[in-house]
């Protein structure tokens, strides 16, 4: 039996309302004691967390691990290493792999690969339709039984209202949340960036806000009589915030998530410093939008409309991102950098405080994916020892060598940030430590 003491840190556990300087004792994979000035011995290891934050292991409900099918971009092993470096102890992987995660056998495959190779916990968000084609519902009841923690066709919306109604009904029955990638495909043909001044100037197909808003509006209406838990992924538009706010005020079971890049960058990033950069690391789905959208998303986070902070970690190879802008794939990596970027955009600007930030990265995504029922997302006596230690004042510059996954597609290299994950413990085992 190994005993580890994390001593003197500011313990923030939003699920239980704790925010005070305490010690945490861990034996094997469990938290055995939480209290002020716990006995220093016996302990195999004492971690001095003075001046640090000690929080539940972060949970990311939206990552792309690319296994199976695109292992040159990322694998379950490499993606979860990136997660551990970023302070995440649990990630939920999206089903847009090749083949898609649309059968119980595929859920079991991810589970098996995770047990043998992963650096943190991995759960599957399984596809809502067969092959993610949006035509025919998948075996949602069997996916849930196999361990899926959410249902989504992420990468695509379910565009047909008829199919969507059936998928919502089936997802409601198994108690999971449906996570929608909100993009009306008929409004985004040939689109590669936000429809606005920059797309007009650069001659790139524009992606209007309404392509996102229309799907949310439709789904909220569809879901009125169904009542499935409905989650808006990576919300990008100011109008979407308003639709979600109204739905929640009407008592509907609707949640929404933000991503770091939609809080820090605008469509101007595509043009870069000289205006003509065509920077593929600023190519996202949904696209980077305008300052007014950032303000609206922040307001939605401040008033509780948006409750979950994710990454949408989307690795792509250097070669793929070197293609001409319109042919390059969408997305950026995010696991290693999400926490400091959220601190910069939300905490240092006073939008929310540290406890709320931690809640939005722990207990809130845990509830979304039903992981709170197995004790994740909180620091509880006798509970699972998933713990992240954060230096809330450490200034550092994001460099290539700070990325632990296989891919390096991020527009944030060279950015100065002011907080850093210094230790990640998954089930009592230290998976990442910065000494």
């Amino acid at each position: 039996m190994a005993r580890v003491l994390i001593s003197g840190g500011r313990v923030i556990d939003p699920a239980s309302g704790v925010d005070t300087v305490q010690d945490i004792a861990i034996e094997d994979d469990r938290i055995v004691e939480i209290g002020v000035k716990l006995a220093k011995s016996p302990a195999d290891r004492i971690i001095d967390a003075t001046g640090k934050l000690v929080v539940p292991g972060l949970i990311d409900p939206h990552v792309h691990l690319r296994e199976p099918g695109a292992e040159h971009k990322e694998t379950i092993e490499s993606g979860t290493l990136a997660a551990a470096v970023g302070g995440f102890t649990t990630v939920c992987c999206m089903p847009n792999t090749t083949p898609a995660l649309d059968t119980p056998e595929m859920v079991t495959f991810v589970d098996g690969r995770s047990r043998s190779t992963a650096h943190c916990r991995v759960y599957t968000v399984a596809a809502g339709t067969k092959g993610r084609r949006g035509e025919e519902p998948s075996e949602i009841s069997l996916l849930a039984r196999a361990g899926a923690v959410g249902i989504s066709d992420d990468g695509d919306a379910i565009a047909s209202a008829g199919v969507m109604a059936r998928v919502l009904t089936m997802t409601k029955q198994v108690g999971l949340a449906f996570m929608q990638h909100c993009q009306d495909p008929t409004l985004t043909v040939g689109a590669s960036m936000h429809a606005g001044e920059v797309s007009v100037r650069l001659g790139l197909g524009g992606w209007p806000r309404v392509a996102e808003e229309l799907i949310i509006e439709r789904d909220v209406r569809l879901n009125t009589s169904i009542g499935c838990r409905y989650h808006v992924q990576h919300l990008s538009s100011s109008g979407s915030v308003e639709i979600v706010r109204r739905a929640r005020a009407a008592g509907q079971p609707v949640t929404a998530e933000a991503s770091p890049h939609h809080l820090l960058l605008t469509h101007e990033a595509v043009g870069g410093a000289d205006g003509f950069a065509y920077d593929t690391n600023a190519k996202m789905n949904p696209p980077l939008r305008e300052a007014s959208d950032i303000a609206a998303i922040k307001a939605g986070i401040a008033d509780g409309t948006i409750t979950v902070l994710a990454t949408d970690h989307a690795p792509h190879s250097v070669e793929e991102k070197a293609r001409p802008f319109e042919e390059a794939p969408f997305g950026i990596v995010g696991l290693e950098t999400a926490l400091p970027l959220y601190v910069e955009s939300l905490v240092k600007t006073g939008v929310i405080d540290w406890p709320r930030l931690i809640a939005m990265m722990t207990v809130e995504p845990a509830k979304l994916c039903g992981l709170h029922r197995i004790g994740l997302g909180t620091l509880a006596m006798g509970g699972t020892a998933d713990v992240t230690v954060i230096d809330p004042e450490q200034e550092w510059t994001i460099r290539l060598e700070d990325l632990a996954g296989k891919s390096r597609n991020t527009p944030f290299l060279g950015r100065r940030v002011g907080a850093r994950v210094v230790l990640t413990m998954v089930g009592g085992q230290i998976r990442h430590e910065r000494r």
Partner: protein, 335 residues
């Protein structure tokens, strides 16, 4: 000391003085472009790489002639028979042509930003011969030269007080984007005209007016530039980068959904073709331009294309002069 070399990638952002210098140098090249004077010593022994990853007749032949008039040879790549069809990237192809010995590269590609992308690693000047829906700088320079010459403004290239309409599928048009930038910088008022699907109000952020009623606009302008209806950009397969929903992973390709911006030829003609009747509404001195290739009987009638107002073939001749001047300008050859 030779002057430093430079790229010609976009006219947006270029200073008015530079634009006027390029136009003046182009004007001075017209006799040589027409074979009346011999400038074949200027680029003797040098080679110009013509990287036309997208089909082109006019621009490719025009650059070829420009290089030859200056005494240069051309390294001519046709995408069909090149390694691009074997999967080589545009950048690799460009750097190989540079390594073979080209002194400058002319790039035509269907992707917006392609010339910028090649210019970053290339050590030799890159001239944008048209990139997707972004810009086509030498086309706009030859248009400006033709307009200035036709309207008696070619002494100083000051277009102040002139009103110029660009008509048709402006949102998909690299010609329109370069022209809006150049003509506005030279002092003209540019009015883009088309149905709201092809000439959206958002284009006013480029510094032009946006109008939808051609009959109202025609009597007010000094020049009208008819754009080609680009059926290949509205026909699904041709719409570039139809990403649809295939977002993060290499999802299987989906059939593109055609944006039916151009419903039918007759519906388009009814509102936006330059018919003989419409041409009669123009001011007496007004000039008609078209970047080519013309869809005769669609965006412009035969009688207008071949009529007295038409500057279409002068545009083409000016194109050779503009490309000669542009090659010299990019290669640091003094005027």
């Amino acid at each position: 000391m030779p002057r430093p070399t430079r790229d010609l990638l976009a006219l947006r952002g270029m200073g008015t003085a530079e634009l006027k210098e390029l136009l003046a140098r182009s004007r001075a090249m017209i006799p040589a472009a027409m074979g009346r004077t011999d400038l074949s010593h200027i680029l003797k022994g040098r080679a110009v790489g013509l990287l036309f990853f997208e089909d082109s007749t006019r621009t490719r032949l025009s650059f070829t002639m420009a290089a030859q008039r200056l005494g240069a040879t051309t390294l001519d790549l046709a995408s069909g028979g090149s390694s691009v069809s074997k999967g080589e990237t545009l950048i690799d192809t460009a750097l190989n042509v540079e390594a073979i010995g080209a002194a400058a590269l002319v790039v035509r590609a269907k992707q917006s930003g392609a010339a910028h992308q090649i210019a970053q690693p290339a050590k030799i000047p890159v001239l944008n011969g048209g990139d997707g829906k972004h810009e086509h700088p030498t086309q706009a320079l030859l248009d400006a030269l033709t307009i200035a010459e036709s309207l008696g403004r070619s002494a100083a290239f000051d277009l102040t007080g002139l009103s110029i309409a660009i008509v048709g599928d402006v949102i998909s048009s690299r010609v329109a984007r370069s022209n809006i930038a150049a003509l506005s910088a030279l002092g003209a008022q540019v009015i883009v005209v088309g149905p709201p699907t092809l000439a959206p109000k958002s284009m006013s952020t480029l510094g032009c007016k946006v109008e939808h009623d051609l009959d109202n606009v025609l009597p007010t302008v000094d020049a009208v530039m008819m754009l080609r209806v680009q059926f290949e950009r509205h026909g699904g397969e041709g719409s570039s980068g139809a990403s649809g929903g295939a977002s993060h992973a290499a999802a299987p390709a989906k059939p593109p959904i055609t944006p039916s911006s151009i419903v039918s030829v007759r519906a388009y003609r009814e509102g936006y073709a330059l018919t003989s009747a419409r041409a009669a509404m123009l001011k007496p001195h007004a000039v008609v331009l078209h970047p080519g290739p013309i869809n005769r009987g669609i965006e412009m009638d035969q009688d207008v294309a071949d009529g007295p107002r038409s500057a279409v073939l002068r545009q083409v001749t000016h194109g050779v002069a503009v490309r000669m001047a542009s090659l010299c300008w990019c290669l640091g050859i003094p005027a």
